[in-house]
Amino acid sequence: MFVYFCKRILGMIPVLLVIITVTFFLMRFAPGGPFSSEKKLSAEIKKNLEKKYHMDKPLVVQYFYYLGMILQGDLGPSMKYENKTVVGIIKEKFAVSLRIGFMAMFIALLLGTTIGFFAALNQNSFIDYTCMSFAILGISVPNLVLGPILAVTFGLWLGWLPVAGWGELKHYILPVITLSCYYIAIIARIARGSMLEVIRQDYIKTARSKGLSDWTIITRHAMKGALLPIVSYVGPASAFIITGSIVVEQIFGIPGVGREFVMGAIDRDYTMVMGTVILVSILVMTFNLFVDIAYGFIDPRIKLHEEK
């Protein structure tokens, strides 16, 4: 197990290097730069700014300089916000996105699997059709539409919840619902499909013929197998959900990391974009690793280490 874990971690390094390299050069080849603005900067000021951020050196030198920095755990200073380092900003904002993302994913898992399993066990009934119609709705209504609808309805018209803002518990409700809706729907569909497949398997038939109750069959035997596809979806999805969503953050005025990512790209805040890309990549790879490890526990057919 430990060997497998180490191997996987080592395997991440070349992947990360490729991502860093591609992002670094793509970003630099985009027109404009962090210091271009409607009102032009004096040549002297621009020169000094470029010197400060080592942008006066050839691109390749800058690239290796950046790699060197990363090795020391430094993602550099933000080019937009004075005195702020990228690591500092990510630390501050990631905590917010993590909380919202975690809650949204928790709700999505809970509701998604329940709805999906419920629909599968009542296949082709009214309940099944209703659940799946809502799932289609959940997938097809984007955050961009759902967020404002919720804000207008519960914030503006009913006055029950704040339309936007951050700081209190009530500020979490609408963004978490907005963020989770899509995932509830997707998970419900996956859960339904996998449950339908599992209950047709031979081992379930065996369990049935042994005279076990429906409840025991579902909870003890079917559920485990039906969870596998969900786990493999939730892994990478979690990485994206906790790194924030620019749409939800903007609609509800949440100081999360998703906004930094997109605004960084618009402002050509090179270091900020690199920092967030690295964060997302590491998270996606880590969650994939978790998924593979989780598989080993859930599915007895998969072994992560060689048998002695």
């Binding site: 985009a30 027109p31 404009g32 730069g33 271009s36 603005s37 409607e38 009102k39 032009k40 900067l41 004096s42 002297e44 000021i45 000094n48 400060k52 937009k80 916000y81 004075e82 005195n83 702020k84 900003i89 904002k93 509701l111 329940t114 709805i115 659940c131 809502f134 709705l137 959940g138 209504v141 759902l146 404002p148 609808i149 919720l150 804000a151 207008v152 309805t153 503006l156 018209w157 009913l158 006055g159 704040p162 339309v163 936007a164 803002g165 951050w166 700081g167 989770s180 809706c181 509830i184 903007q250 609609i251 005025g253 949440i254 100081p255 999360g256 906004r259 618009i266 402002d267 050509r268």
Partner: protein, 550 residues
């Protein structure tokens, strides 16, 4: 499942209509304190006045720091700030300021002439990398200091004694007082900067001399400021606290304002605000120091020909354009916005389709000449810019038979293309840095860094430079008027409309200009739309009534 039910409920409500009435929003519990909530747009990159950028930074810093003079929002003149009084030499090149002795930093230390000296030196020092450094070029040797040709000590700012500051200018500058009222000329605390360097603006270090001081700064969420008890004019400051919300999304700002979560919405309303807004008493629209225009790339045919440029401008109906946008923009027939201090335009462009056709013919296009090549209008991606470009292209097609392609580009790409002349006609906008025609006429000066048209006109340049050296206002006005006339005659830039500054203000916010439509009618507003809340207060009784609290 629950959220889906909620979603359906929401959708049903959307279709069937909803309860109305003010009382459904709880009044924020401020424990009897007077708190003003401001929707302030995007996050300010820094709290250092000399490095301020954009409107959100300006509105926060105008309340946190104070300069030598303050602008009188009601009448437009200048009020004493840190300087109690001032003297201007006869030739208009030397200003002496006598500082008040009771001006203090929020840590209780006195504000002295040395603070201003070090601030101004820091502003032009190339090491500081201030993006506002060029505003200082009117001060003696400022440009040379920035270019590393002279030492910062040679800057024309002198401390006579702790409370007397002398500033020498390169030439008489009619708008120097306007410059001094700007945020980049406010005082910064020498003793704190000496200690903390660049980190002086961090929450744990920052010290300020304005009516308010910073107590909370949560990036991309909010900045909170409270009354500065060390401020010399603290008796006139009524508000206990101001919360500046960072809300870069216009629709979110609007929803927050409508849900009574904020009392003031800075200029920059989302387009969905406009239908029916004219009847909203909370909507306050005032003239603004800004112009929306198109620039021509005068380096390349066919726009190297002034006749072509003029023909294009003549074939456009600006009244219709302003109407299409329905925001209350003023059609622009000249370059310097109306009501700019000390200026009155003497020229006006003409709109005349027949004449436009004639001019185009004279330039060799149209009937009997060559076919006018397809032209492209470049704009940065934005709904309004797109509308304008579509209407303009339609007008040109209909009136002059010119085929127009419109092309949008993302902000930085658009800027890059403008700078490098990779465009034919491009959308542009300019907000005056200071309340003077100079800030607009500079756009066409051939040496200006902000002239992306590549237009170079000897007479224009001469007049522009001359205007900067004249101390008599009347003579200066005449020279500037002549320059504007040349620009309109040659049309390197094509004015379209003048911006307006519209804000949303709750009726219980008082003593702040402009806080309602009547203020605007009476001319009580700041052309630069700086939101200064120094004297503002909240009528608590009216606020309770507004929220339906008994």
């Amino acid at each position: 499942m629950k959220s889906i039910v909620i979603l359906c409920l929401g959708l049903c409500l959307l279709l069937t209509g909803c309860p109305s009435g003010e009382t459904k929003y709880p009044m924020p519990d401020d424990k009897g304190k007077m708190v003003l909530r401001v929707l302030n747009g995007a996050e300010a990159a820094t709290l250092d006045p000399i490095k301020r950028e954009g409107t959100p930074g300006t509105s926060m810093l105008s309340n946190i720091f104070e300069g030598l003079v303050r602008v009188n929002n009601k009448t437009g003149g200048y009020l004493p700030g840190v300087a109690e009084r001032w003297e201007i030499s006869e030739d208009g090149t030397t200003y002496t300021f006598f500082l008040r002795k009771d001006a203090k930093w929020s840590d209780g230390k006195p504000v002295t002439a040395n603070d201003f000296l070090s601030t101004y030196r820091r502003a032009v020092d190339p090491i500081t990398q201030s993006r506002n450094a060029s505003l200082y070029f009117v001060i003696k040797n400022a440009r040379a200091v920035l270019k590393n040709e002279k030492k910062t000590e040679e800057l024309g700012v002198f401390v006579v004694d702790d409370y007397t500051l002398k500033i020498e200018l390169e030439s008489p500058t009619g708008y120097f007082m306007s410059l001094l009222s700007l945020v980049p000329f406010y005082a910064t605390p020498k003793h704190v900067i000496d200690k903390h360097g660049n980190a002086w603006t961090e929450l744990e270090n920052i010290v300020s001399n304005g009516p308010f001081k910073v107590v909370l700064r949560r990036r991309n969420d909010r900045t909170e400021v409270v009354k500065n008890e060390n401020y010399w004019g603290k008796d006139e400051v009524k508000l206990d606290k101001i919360i500046f919300f960072t809300t870069d999304n216009g629709e979110t700002r609007l929803r927050m304002f409508r849900a009574n979560a904020a009392d003031y919405h800075v200029t920059g309303l989302a387009s969905s605000a406009y239908p029916g807004i004219k009847n909203n008493p909370e909507w306050v629209m005032a003239p603004y120091l800004g112009i929306y225009y198109y620039i021509f790339n005068t380096k390349e045919a066919p726009f190297d020909n002034a006749k072509v440029r003029k023909a294009i401008s003549m074939a456009i109906d600006r009244e219709i354009l302003a109407e299409v946008l329905s925001i209350g923009y003023i059609p622009a027939k000249f370059i310097v916005p109306p009501r700019t201090a000390g200026y009155k335009t003497a020229a006006s462009l003409e709109e005349n389709v027949e004449k436009a056709k004639q001019l185009l013919k004279e330039a060799g296009y149209g009937e009997g000449g060559k076919k006018f090549p397809t032209m492209t209008i470049l704009y940065n991606t934005n709904e309004n810019h797109q509308k304008v470009a579509i209407v303009v292209s339609d007008m040109l097609k209909r009136n002059l038979g010119i085929d127009v392609k419109i092309e949008n580009a993302e902000w930085k790409t658009y800027l890059d293309r403008r700078r490098h002349g990779d465009y034919q006609v491009a959308r542009a906008g300019w907000i005056g840095d200071y309340n003077d025609a100079d800030s607009f006429l500079e756009l066409m000066y051939s040496e200006s860094e902000n002239n992306d048209t590549f237009w170079k006109h000897k007479k224009y340049d001469e007049l522009f430079l001359k205007s900067r050296k004249i101390s008599t206002p009347e003579k200066r006005l005449a020279v500037m008027q002549e320059a504007e006339k040349i620009a309109l005659d040659e049309m390197p830039i094509m004015p379209i409309y003048f911006y307006v500054a519209d804000t949303l203000v709750k009726p219980y916010v008082k003593n702040f200009y402009p806080s309602n439509k009547k203020d605007v009618e009476q001319g009580f507003y700041d052309l630069q739309a700086r939101a200064v809340f120094r004297d503002a207060y909240i009528d608590m009784e009216e606020k309770k009534k507004y929220f339906g609290v008994k």
